[in-house]
């Protein structure tokens, strides 16, 4: 299996190939997602397997789908070349936003922002009750943090001491209509998470740094927020 660094290159290479074939929907949003997905699937999930911990990844920012599909292609989960052929075709697995029952590596349908963290909390609670060792990483966009539900879930997670929950924030600095700070301010972002009872760390946009943060960032029973800054 590929380590996080090689996986990052594989995903990025495919993403560029999609673009060269005119498949570039929400491209920047996918691009900043590449090192995050590489760290999660190239390191974090594998480390979990080695330790007997089931580690699940939920994509809450569903519009990063092209990176997600490039990941699936890189992992050999779907056939090489199928994404650029079938992306957006009606009924295909490669919906604009990944969907359960259609899309690869998808446990919960995506597309409506702000919902992933609550679902991740539910998956952690289910594991505790079922005696399963499970950790859940939820990948959020920075623009997505405008949604109030994110902060409802952030409060729930710290109140319930859900140390098995990780939020990874793709801090690319942009949302749909412009720079995040001009639309609705997100800073001081790490402090916001800390004030909600989370441990927060900030890292640069490379898979190795993100993987290292995921390995070492956890403090006590607190949920962990990893803020991946590709714009400072």
């Amino acid at each position: 299996m590929l380590d996080e660094h090689l996986l990052e290159r594989e995903i990025a290479r495919r993403l560029e190939r999609y673009k060269s074939k005119g498949v570039s929907w929400h491209f920047e949003s996918s691009k900043s997602l590449v090192p995050i997905l590489a760290a999660l699937y190239g390191s974090w999930v594998k480390d979990g397997l080695a330790r007997g911990v089931q580690r699940l990844v939920l994509l809450s920012k569903g519009h990063g789908s092209l990176a997600h599909y490039a990941l699936a292609e890189s992992l050999g989960v779907v056939d090489e070349g199928i994404v650029e052929r079938e992306f957006l075709s009606p009924g295909s697995p490669f919906q604009a936003h990944p969907e359960v029952g259609k899309s690869p590596l998808t446990m919960v349908s995506t597309g409506s922002l702000g919902q992933g963290l609550s679902i991740g909390a539910g998956l952690v609670l289910a594991a505790r009750l079922s005696g399963v060792r499970r950790e859940v990483a939820v990948v959020l966009g920075d623009g997505e943090l405008d949604e109030g539900q994110v902060w409802e879930a952030a409060s729930t997670a710290s109140s319930m001491g859900l140390g098995e929950l990780v939020a990874i924030i793709d801090r690319n600095g942009f949302q749909h209509t412009g720079p995040t700070e001009s639309v609705k301010a997100k800073e001081p972002l790490a402090d916001r998470w800390r004030s909600f009872g989370w441990t927060a760390v900030e890292v640069g946009p490379d898979a190795r740094s993100i993987a290292a943060a995921l390995r070492s960032g956890r403090v006590g029973g607190r949920p962990l927020a990893v803020i991946v800054r590709s714009s400072w």
């Binding site: 029952g101 919960v108 409506s112 609550s118 998956l123 952690v124 009750l129 539900q149 409802e152 729930t156």
Partner: protein, 316 residues
């Protein structure tokens, strides 16, 4: 507690939850800080480790319930109906779209929170919920049927369902053991020669009282409890309505989108020409605070006497 003697939807619900908790190890119950009102507190007292209060955050409530279902458990989420609708988009995008096995049990629906007033009185929830793709919608009339609907939905039904309950405003309709739930079913509670009222929830009992008043004036009007709004027993509705020139619906909900609209769809598509009169909350009206549920019904023109008067006016 004999369910046939109580007017409390929520106590019947709590009894069902506790009984189910004994049988089903995978049952988990969630609430958005209303457990003392929805009475899910009864479940939490007995099965605390399987009970989660997520705080006053209904969107999060729906999301956590979804995660618990994806994780293989059997979640039941409760809130006041008006505020559960705050999570409607979460219900739509995740629970309904992914067909998750989540039961949404809303209490304090319709006009039942008579003290709290219009903010708490949900007049649109049936419309919102029945327009979804995969979610069943059930509205029991009284405590006996509430118990049966909850037990069936949680124990036998895999997939999303919305169960609409009132507060403590149920007129007892069924005796013990008299109600058997059937998805897509309905109960003919009273036959009538002159017309029929299709009613839902607490208005079933109101319709029965109105029918008694009409009988004293020699108008013979039947009453049907439409407890399964979705799926709807279309052929039975049509068969019953076809026996009359005029049929009525009665609901503690807006006449748009709820029971009245459901029955109207069936009758219009049949081309049978039965005239339908929808009774419920009309047009731009909202509810109000009141000192009792009965006082509120009268204020809204939905008490038995007002209903009888309206039916008489149409039929004569």
């Amino acid at each position: 507690m004999r369910l046939s003697n109580t007017s409390s939807y929520r106590l019947a619900y709590a009894k069902a939850l506790v009984d189910l908790g004994e049988r089903l190890e995978d049952l988990v119950v969630l609430d958005a800080d209303t457990s003392k009102s929805t009475m899910t507190i009864r479940f939490s007292e007995k099965f605390g480790e399987r009970y989660f209060n997520v705080g006053i955050s209904e969107q999060d409530l729906i999301g956590i319930a979804a995660g618990l279902a994806v994780g293989g458990l059997r979640p039941v989420a409760s809130a006041f109906a008006a505020f559960m609708m705050r999570g409607w988009e979460q219900i739509r995008s995740t629970i309904d779209r992914d067909g998750l096995n989540v039961k949404l049990v809303a209490t304090h629906s319709g006009l039942s929170p008579h003290v709290d007033g219009s903010s708490h009185q949900s007049l649109e929830d049936v419309s919102l919920m029945r327009s979804l793709g995969r979610t069943s919608v059930f509205v029991p009339a009284d405590a006996v049927s509430t118990y049966e609907v909850v037990v069936w939905s949680v124990e036998k039904h895999r997939g999303p369902a919305y169960i609409r309950l009132g507060r403590d405003n149920a007129r007892p309709v069924y005796g013990e053991g008299e109600f058997e739930f059937r998805p897509g079913g309905l109960s003919i509670l009273r036959d009538g020669r002159d017309s029929v009222i299709f009613a839902m929830g607490p208005m079933v009992g109101v319709a029965l009282e109105a029918a008694k008043l009409l009988k004293e004036e020699s108008l013979d009007v039947g009453v049907v409890d439409v407890y399964s709004i979705k799926p709807l027993g279309r052929s039975e509705v049509l068969r019953i309505a076809s026996g009359y020139d005029i049929a009525f619906t009665l609901e503690d909900h807006r006449v748009v989108g709820g029971l009245g609209s459901s029955i109207a769809e069936v009758l219009a598509e049949s081309g049978g020409g039965v005239r339908l009169v929808r009774m419920g909350v009309d047009g731009g009206r909202y509810g109000s605070s009141a000192r009792s549920f009965e006082e509120l019904l009268a204020f809204m023109g939905l008490d038995p006497a007002s209903i009888a008067k309206r039916v008489r006016g149409v039929l004569s």
